[in-house]
Amino acid sequence: MSRLVPRCPGVRVILAVNLLIALVPGCAHAAASGVAPRTSTELVASPAEFDGEAVAFTGEVIGESMERGDMAWLHLNDDAYRDRNVEEGAPLGGYNSGMAVWIPAEAASTVVTFGDHAHEGDVVRISGTFNAACPEHGGDMDIHASSLEVVTPGHRVDDPVDPGKVVWAIVLSMAALVAFLADRLRARAEDTRGM
């Protein structure tokens, strides 16, 4: 299931507030360049309305840069985890949500950190043209970007072991051992009686 844009109003509000805060510097930049900043929620909700429009988009780069010749695919998430993810202790804020971006490989190479379990990726701002169903890319919804600017560098995420969990692990391991031994002892006792 492709699950990128939350439908429920509660999560949308959380996302909207996050994005509002995050887009304040973006708005200034976008206004200067004359390109409207957009969110993935807006673009997916009304693809026909924005088709072919010049847009600015800000999001955390996740996964990797997939280079195809002189160009590359990036995936930018503008969701509740854009600046801090669950592994770092961010509260749950719904599904991931973002946009696929087709960009010159040289521009993509400025991204240093990609978001995954161990990393919060670089937050970048791109500007380009939104395609509701890109004919060049098999009908995919994407943005063909011409520029990329790193807004916030990414960082490594530490996910320390919870000491409470370790205690539970020890207790349950002991319980499993006791259950295993009880089962084996009963089986052996039955075998002896059978003989």
């Binding site: 719904g94 599904y95 098999g138 009908g139 391991s173 089962d183």
Partner: protein, 501 residues
């Protein structure tokens, strides 16, 4: 009159349910090792807790429920259905401990979705989860595709004569080989061969697409598991849209279709009967209904002008509908694009494809191709009867591994299960609508859950009402086990209370 179950009945059910939960515990060793390999120590602890819980429950139950009695028919059905519930409750532990789930109910939703090869999920911030947890998500859908009972049959049952009833209770009824344990092993043989070829092809393609070697291998393995099991889980929230590749989509299509075919068909091809592919009633039924749904959706989307290029239009429609019809749930469009781009006709056609679903005794769900084939043959037989002289004997046959006569008892059984599915689909649509969702969207999502497909247009969400989450869990469970063993569990529970001593 139902007889109240005796102590021996409880013991035999407890003993075999315990064995299946031990099997789930062993399965968790794979994600545990994955997390160790990537140094995800918090996730390692999550899996140690979960494995210990499985072993404590499984061996504890076995120790308490010692009996030499073999499984009877009703025991087998009850073991199949109850073990899926227990395995879901315990299997949800790694999800819940990860911190990515809103509640334990959400974790159980995802695990039931995995076992039943549905693919709907409530996990939040999927793009930042540990490799170990991603391995568990995909492994449980792969294991669910084979059938978790099949796993236990393969490794733990050691030739119990009554094991066949548990196997049937899990929605599989083909004996590929005379012995059911050998059959379970044959299913694994077929699956592992496909695993080697499919995962390798996807990994090599991923490398060519610009993925790093480790990620290409992991994604290849996971996407293969999602495709073969017709589960539809993918490692990124973008699903298979993430790869932007025709080659990747083509490989996924081949694996999805292969996974949706009857294991008996695979075995027939494996043993040299290759013509079975073009003669079998299920493959013919699949070809007809897939072609029709693709045709209608292509026409509707062409009229709507969503895709400007004919090849692009066909690529999008064919991929989504193969995914829907095989009950996989992969997609290369955004969830809300089903509504904002595909529109009402696109939603309806995909709903029909999901409702029909895959082949019997496969990893897929839905009404199943064989039932569609039998019903259409029976319909044609009735038409021929009406136009034939009164004294004429009108018979009909269908081909499934061999030519078989279409008799009324078979048609009746087929209709019973089909009506059960249609009733479930209808119920899901109505209840979803009562919760305030648009009827078409509620029907689409409800059918997706009950047919174990996993495509979503946005109804499934962490914030959906808990009662609806519970309903979806039950629908996934009922749909996967094809009702009978769940009814048997209900009957068993009823007999415990009201049965005659």
């Amino acid at each position: 009159m139902l007889l109240r179950p005796r102590r021996e009945d409880h013991l035999v059910i407890g003993k075999y349910t315990g064995k299946i939960v031990i099997g789930i515990g062993f399965l968790m060793v794979v994600p545990l090792l994955t997390s160790i390999a990537f140094g995800e120590w918090d996730t390692v602890v999550d899996f140690v807790i979960s494995i210990s819980l499985c072993m404590a429950f499984g061996y504890g139950t076995q120790a308490v429920c010692r009996t030499d009695r073999d499984l009877g028919w009703s025991h087998g059905l009850v073991v199949a259905s109850s073990s899926w519930l227990v395995a879901t409750a315990i299997g949800a532990m790694p999800h819940w401990l990860s911190g990515h789930m809103g509640s334990y109910l959400d974790a159980m939703f995802d695990v039931m979705s995995g076992y039943t090869t549905t693919g709907l999920y409530l996990m939040q911030d999927l793009d930042h989860i540990a490799h170990g947890l991603n391995m568990w998500r995909h492994l449980l859908t792969y294991a669910g595709g084979q059938g978790i009972v099949v796993i236990a049959l393969t490794f733990l049952f050691k030739g119990a004569a009554g094991a066949y009833t548990v196997y049937v209770g899990e929605g599989k009824d083909e004996r590929l080989l005379p012995n059911v344990v050998q059959t379970a092993r044959a299913i694994w043989l077929v699956s592992l061969l496909w695993l080697a070829v499919g995962a390798l092809a996807l990994a090599i393609t991923g490398l060519a697409l610009g993925q790093e070697p480790v990620r290409a291998v992991l994604h290849g393995l996971w996407v293969y598991m999602g495709a073969w099991s017709t589960g539809g889980f993918a490692p990124q929230s973008y699903n298979t849209f993430y790869y932007h590749s025709l080659a990747y989509e083509l490989i996924a299509i081949v694996v999805m279709i292969a996974g949706s075919f009857n294991f008996a068909l695979h075995w027939a091809v494996w043993t040299g009967k290759r013509r079975e592919v073009v003669r079998n009633i299920e493959t013919l039924s699949f070809a007809v209904t897939l072609s029709l749904t693709v045709l209608v959706a292509t026409f509707a989307l062409a009229r709507a002008g969503v895709y400007s290029d004919a090849m692009v239009l066909f690529r999008k429609v064919f991929y989504q509908l193969v995914s829907g019809h095989t009950t996989t749930g992969f997609s290369t469009i955004y969830a809300r694009a089903w509504v904002t781009q595909w529109g009402p006709i696109g939603l309806m056609v995909t709903t029909i494809a999901m409702a029909i679903g895959a082949s019997a005794c496969s990893t897929g769900g839905g009404i199943k191709g064989i039932r569609m084939g039998v019903i259409s043959r029976a319909f044609m037989q009735d038409v021929r009867r009406m136009v034939s002289p009164e004294r004429a004997m009108v018979t009909a046959k269908y081909h499934h591994l061999r030519d078989q006569l279409l008799d009324d008892s078979l048609v009746r059984t087929t209709m019973t299960i089909t009506i059960a599915y249609l009733s479930l689909y209808g119920l899901m649509a109505v209840i979803g609508t009562l919760y305030g969702y648009d009827f078409l969207e509620a029907a689409y999502e409800g059918v997706s859950a009950a047919s174990n497909t996993g495509l979503s247009c946005g109804v499934t969400a962490p914030t959906m009402p808990d009662a609806l989450k519970v309903l979806y869990i039950i629908a996934m469970w009922l749909g996967r086990l094809e009702f009978m063993s769940v009814f048997a569990l209900g009957g068993y529970a009823f007999a415990m209370v009201r049965g005659r001593r």
